[in-house]
């Protein structure tokens, strides 16, 4: 039987994000993408860190894990190695994913572990009521930058490209159809995929729907997502481009581990790489 959108929603727990939060659209698009791929709810694992995005894992009719601040990726790595058969989604925000947990993205990319990481960027720590984040606009006034943000924002897409993440896309909470398509491709992608969503915060207004409407062109017709240098070029443009930036095929973590296992299974231990004490006596006395 085909799964419906409703099959992915938790039967009791309803989202508690502020009315109008961009994250509702992301949750909806993720669940639609899962339905279109016919990933069964019981074949799904959802992992999240801490922050508004941390609530993400609570809203699925599946088994899920709400973990440690910034550590959703390592947790999902442990989960995926133990249960290769599950489709594992990871949710985070700009604080959880790029500040406290920023160090893990490079290493998930190096392993090319088969996870889809959904980052919802609202350029603010919203759950803790409005502190600066790694993507806060310079000059923006926040609780921790009362005189204006004096640090430069990160360029996440350029970071992911230099880490060699094997699927990189950026979209917004306004483009639900595009987001759903990118999420579907990302979940289908074999390896580590990131879907980076500009997701407005209506409470702190650090990123508004108007901000997104006016500054987000799509990557041009004929753009080649296998051309990494082209991807870098568009990552560094003044305007915030949307779409599939980069995609490459390479072995997943499990394929790499499996090839080592095949090579060595049942090999050395009981065949003498550890000598018994009587063997040692015979050899040396």
């Amino acid at each position: 039987m085909k799964t419906q959108l409703q099959d992915y929603k938790h039967p009791e727990i309803k989202p508690v994000w502020c009315p109008g939060c961009g994250d509702y659209a992301v949750l909806n698009a993720v669940q639609k993408a899962l339905a279109s791929l016919e990933v069964k709810p019981h074949e799904l694992g959802v992992v999240s860190g801490i922050g508004c995005s941390g609530r993400f894992s609570h809203y699925f009719n599946s088994y899920s894990l709400h973990g440690t601040h910034g550590r959703a990726l390592p947790i999902a790595t442990g989960l995926k190695t133990a249960r290769e058969d599950l489709t594992v989604l990871v949710a985070g925000g700009d604080g959880d994913g790029l500040a406290i947990g920023g160090g893990h993205i490079a290493h998930a990319a190096r392993k090319n572990i088969d996870l889809t990481y959904i980052i919802m960027d609202n350029t603010i720590y919203a759950l803790t009521k409005g502190q600066s984040s790694p993507t806060s606009h310079p000059g923006a006034h926040t609780k921790t930058a009362p005189y204006g943000v004096y640090e430069d924002p990160l360029n996440p897409i350029a970071m992911f490209l230099s880490y060699d993440v094997s699927f990189i896309a950026r979209t917004t909470s306004l483009k639900i159809k595009e987001m759903e398509k990118l999420l579907t491709d990302a979940i289908r992608h074999r390896g580590f995929s990131i879907v980076y969503v500009m997701s407005p915060c209506v409470t702190h207004k650090s990123l508004t729907y108007d901000d997104i409407k006016s500054h987000v062109p799509s990557l041009p017709e004929g753009y080649d997502p296998t051309d990494k240098f082209e991807a870098f070029k568009y990552a560094y443009k003044e305007e915030m481009y949307m779409g599939l930036f980069y995609k490459q095929e390479k072995p997943t973590l499990n394929e790499r581990l499996e090839s080592i296992r095949k090579e060595v299974t049942g090999s050395s231990y009981n065949k003498g790489h550890t000598m018994t004490t009587s063997q040692i006596m015979e050899e040396y006395l």
Partner: protein, 350 residues
Amino acid sequence: MSDQILMKGNEAVGEAAIIAGCRHYFAYPITPQNEIPAYMAKRLPEVGGTFLQAESELAAINMVFGASAAGARAMTSSSSPGISLKQEGISYIAGAELPCVIVDMMRGGPGLGNIAGSQSDYFQATRGGGNGDYRVLVIAPASVQELADMTVKAFDLADHYSIPVMILGDGFLGQMSEPFTLPEPSGKTFDKPWALTGAKGRKPNIIASMRLTPEDLLEKHNLELQKTYQEIEANEVMYESYLLDDAEYVIVAYGTSARISRSAIGELRKEGIKVGLFRPLTLWPYPYKELKAVSDRAKKVLTVEMSLGQMVEDVRLAVQNDSKVDFYGRTGGMLPVSEEIIRKVRSYGG
């Protein structure tokens, strides 16, 4: 008797974990426990397991978190400064009621300290550096054989109570080679209906350590944890008594310092001094009652540690008579000397 093999303590921990069915091990390099990840990197693929060198101690403990949530037997290992970094993850794992095994081969501190064996992280292990009302079951072996045997047991205890269990050794124990007999698997199996293995035919389950509403949800959860801890205190205390039947003087020591104390006791007994050893094998739960009974019959209780006095606080809690309690310890990776222990006990006028 089955044939013995020769291994370093660190390697014995690795092989014992595999015997116990551990197929998921994640770690970050730190001396003096590097033989554990090296052994697991070589050995785990042979048995179809997964070894990942994590990008940090934080990543390693959180990978354990994820694998354990999936129902796997998972382990990480480190040494003192690395264990400091894991504390947050340990608290979350305890809060989420998941089992796992953590090995700590202690080295000298504070800070980066040095790489020699030490026992100055007794507080860290038994009181926890993580936040919240939680406990970690701590086992302190004193030989390579015991490291191996207790590693197998640690996995069963972790699964039985669904809590983190720590094997607390030190750099000397980890680096020391001794002949030992490989332990047998216990054969025990544990149901894990909560495991994140897909929700087919079951209600969805969320593994989390966050409990926000209603307002007393967290207190109720912590009281449930407390019940588990009380059960552990009632059932899982382990200790060893050596020459205590007639002892007027009791030395209390664990791990490497217990071995040194034991040779001092041998010398003192030759002089006719009635001295014995009380060796806690579990540091939490601590054998308070058992030590109290022994100390009631003794004139003096000497705690020997490779620290400047950490376990001695539990000894005081057990003995409940500070005038009886004495302490001798070396710190910063230095070992207590048998001769010093002998001099101390002689000075009691036995």
